[in-house]
Amino acid sequence: MSRANEATATTREDPVVRVVDVRKTYQMGGVVEALAGVSVDLARGSYTAVMGPSGSGKSTLLNLVGGLDTPTSGRVELDGQDIGGAGEAVRASVRGSEVGFVFQTFNLMPRLTAVENVALPLVFQGWDRERRRERAVEHLKSVGLGDRLDHLPQELSGGQRQRVAIARALAPDPALVLADEPTGNVDSETGARVMDLLDGVHEAGNTILLVTHDRRIAERADRIVHIRDGQIEGVEEL
C-alpha cells in the first residue's frame, strides 16, 4: 500500500477525467458539505475504485464525474471538456455519448425490451433504428444475452438485468464507465460474474470508475481512492 499523495490523486498523463479542487455543498436545513476540495485524475484505460462509508461523498463524486450534477466550485473535466460548468443540454449530451452508467438497482426501463434498453442512449444521440438495433444486439451478445434480446427486464434475473445495464453503458462507446455498487442488488456468486464482466470491459480498453463499500469488489481495480467526510483520505495503488 503506497500513499502517493495525501490530498489528491492526480496524474501528468492525458487523463479521461480531471477533477480539480471540487466542492459540493447542499442546503438541507443547514449547509452540508458533501465534497470539500477533491482532486482526482483518471488515466485513460485505468480502473479506479472509490471506497468510503455511506455519506462520505463518493456518490456525489460519481454524479459530478458523470455530468448528473454540477460542483459548487472547482473543475470537472471529461475528455478535456469542462462539464462542471456546462449547461444542462451539454451535460445531457456528454452523459449520452461519453459516459456509461451502471447502477446498483440496474435502472432499466420497465416497458422496453433488453435490446431497446441497450439502444436507448443511441435514441437520444439520433441514431436510426437499424443501426441502433445492430449495435445493441452486438453488445447484448458480448455480455452473453444474445438469446434474451426481446425480453422485458421483469423477465430477466438480477444478474441478467445488470448485464443488460452494462451492455447499455457500453452501447454509445463511452470514454468512461461509471459503476455505482454494481453488485449491491445481486447475490455474491452473480456479483462475481458481474465483476468478471467489468474486468473484461476494462481489458477491452475502457476507463472505469467504480464506487463501492466492499473491499473485495474494490480490489478488482488498479487503484483504490479512499474517501471520507468529503475528502480523499488516501490512494492505494494495487
Binding site: G66, L68, D69, A92, R95, V123, P172
Partner: protein
C-alpha cells in the same frame, strides 16, 4: 430527439395504460363531438333556411313591420297595409305584382267526414300562384268559393284530396263554407321567406270574399281591407331600385300611419332576409358552440390531470432517460407528444361522432344535413392544441425532474 421516436415511445406509454388513456381520450371525444355537433347543426340549419328562401324569390320585395331598433323581422306582424297602399305601390316603376296576404281565422276543415283542426287559412290573390308553382289545376278566382292547397295539405286528411274535391271550412264565427279545390301548388310567390321548417299543410283562399279584416284608411277616410303582409314582385333587373321606390312610397302610406308606436314599415328583399337569418343563426351557433367548448375544457383538464399523474409515476424512468443522455427538451417533447396524441385521438374520434349526432339532430329537426368540413380540420387542430396546452405544465414538470433524485425514487 426525433419526433418519430417520441411518437413511438408515447404510443407505448398510452398503450400500457389502456383504460386510463381511453377515459382521458373520452373526455376530449365528448368535447370535440359536442362542438362538431352544434357546428354541423348550425351549418345545416343555415343552409336549409337559405335554400328554403331560394333563388326563385330573389326579385321579391317583402313589406313588413318591425321594431325601429332593427330587431327581428316579423316580431310585430300586424295588419297595416291597406288596399290604398297596395294600389299606390302597383303604380310604381319596376313593380310587376303586389300580392297581399292575410289569415282567415277558422276552427276546422273537413273532408269526407275527416276533420283537420286548423286555426287559420291563408287569404291572398291569384297572383301568388305562377304557372310553375301550380302542379295541378289552376289558380282560384276572386269572389269564388275556391281553395288551392299545397302538397302537404292534400295529405292532411285520411283520404287524399284531389282537384275537384270539396272541403268544408268552419269559420270562427261558426259559419261553414264549402270550397272547391281548384289547384295544387308546389311553391307560392307571396310567402314570406320565413316559413318554418319542413312543409306544413297550407290552404289558400281568395281574399275576396273571405278576408274581412278592415280598417279606416287614414288617407281616404273609408274602410278598406288591411293586410299584415305584402309581397311585391319586381322586375328582376331592378329589384334594388324598386325596393327603394317602394320604401319611399311606404314612408307616407297608410301603413306608416297605422303601424304601432316604435314600429316601422320596411321593404326587404329576400337577400336582406337571408343576411339577417344568417347573422342570427351564426350568432346562435357560436353561442351554443361556445357552451360546448366548456366540455372540451373539461376534457383538457382531464389530460392535464392524467399527465401529471404520469409524470409522478414515471419519475424514475425520466431519471433513467436523463442518465443515458435525454435532455430536458427531449423529456418535455416526449410528454408533449403524449398529451397531444391523447388530444389528437380525441379529436379524430370526436369529429365523426359529432357529425353523426349532428346528422341525428338534423333528422330530428327535419332539416337538410350539411357538412361543415372546415370545422373538421379546426376540430382536429383544436384537439391537438388542447392536448399540447394541457400537457405543457406536466411536460415542463417532467423536464425539470432532477435525475439524481429521480434515480433514487422508488
Amino acid at each position: 430527439m426525433d419526433v418519430r421516436e417520441s411518437l413511438s415511445m408515447a404510443f407505448r406509454s398510452i398503450r400500457s395504460h389502456k383504460l386510463r388513456s381511453t377515459l382521458t381520450v373520452l373526455g376530449i371525444v365528448i368535447g370535440i363531438a359536442s362542438v362538431v355537433t352544434f357546428a354541423t347543426f348550425g351549418a345545416s340549419l343555415k343552409a336549409d333556411v337559405v335554400s328554403e328562401i331560394g333563388d326563385t324569390s330573389a326579385s321579391n320585395v317583402y313589406l313588413v313591420t318591425s321594431p325601429e331598433d332593427g330587431g327581428p323581422f316579423g316580431s310585430a306582424i300586424q295588419p297595416v297595409f291597406t288596399e290604398h297602399d297596395l294600389a299606390e305601390i302597383r303604380e310604381l316603376e319596376g313593380v310587376r305584382a303586389v300580392i297581399p296576404r292575410g289569415n282567415v281565422p277558422t276552427s276546422a276543415l273537413r273532408y269526407r267526414g275527416d276533420t283537420f283542426a286548423r286555426t287559420q287559412v291563408t287569404a291572398t290573390t291569384a297572383e301568388t300562384f305562377t304557372e310553375a308553382s301550380l302542379v295541378e289545376g289552376r289558380a282560384f278566382r276572386a269572389g269564388e268559393s275556391e281553395v288551392v292547397l299545397n302538397r302537404a295539405a292534400t295529405r292532411a286528411f285520411e283520404e287524399n284530396v284531389t282537384v275537384g274535391s270539396t272541403l268544408t271550412v268552419t269559420m270562427q264565427s261558426n259559419r261553414s263554407v264549402d270550397l272547391t279545390v281548384v289547384g295544387i301548388v308546389e311553391r307560392t310567390q307571396g310567402q314570406l321567406p320565413v316559413g318554418g321548417f319542413g312543409s306544413q299543410a297550407r290552404f289558400f283562399v281568395p281574399a275576396d270574399p273571405f278576408y274581412d279584416a278592415t280598417v279606416e284608411s287614414p288617407t281616404l277616410g273609408v274602410n278598406q281591407r288591411v293586410y299584415p303582409q305584402v309581397t311585391v314582385q319586381t322586375d328582376p333587373a331592378a329589384t334594388t331600385a324598386t325596393k327603394e321606390r317602394v320604401q319611399s312610397s311606404l314612408d307616407d302610406s297608410d301603413a306608416a300611419e297605422l303601424a304601432p308606436g316604435g314600429a316601422e314599415v320596411t321593404a326587404r328583399t329576400s337577400g336582406d332576409f337571408i343576411d339577417q337569418i344568417e347573422r342570427i343563426i351564426d350568432r346562435l351557433t357560436r353561442f351554443v358552440t361556445g357552451i360546448a367548448v366548456i366540455a372540451l375544457v373539461v376534457g383538457a383538464v382531464g389530460i392535464a390531470n392524467i399527465m401529471l399523474v404520469s409524470v409522478t409515476e414515471r419519475t424514475r424512468e425520466i431519471g433513467i432517460m436523463k442518465s443515458v443522455g435525454a435532455t430536458n427538451r427531449d423529456v418535455m417533447q416526449l410528454f408533449l407528444v403524449e398529451s397531444s396524441l391523447l388530444g389528437g385521438f380525441g379529436a379524430v374520434l370526436g369529429v365523426p361522432l359529432g357529425v353523426l349526432v349532428g346528422w341525428g339532430a338534423t333528422e330530428y329537426a327535419e332539416i337538410t344535413f350539411t357538412l361543415a368540413p372546415t370545422w373538421f380540420a379546426i376540430a382536429v387542430t383544436v384537439g391537438v392544441a388542447v392536448g399540447i396546452v394541457a400537457g405543457l405544465y406536466p411536460a415542463w414538470k417532467a423536464a425539470r425532474v432532477d435525475p439524481i433524485d429521480a434515480l433514487r425514487h422508488e
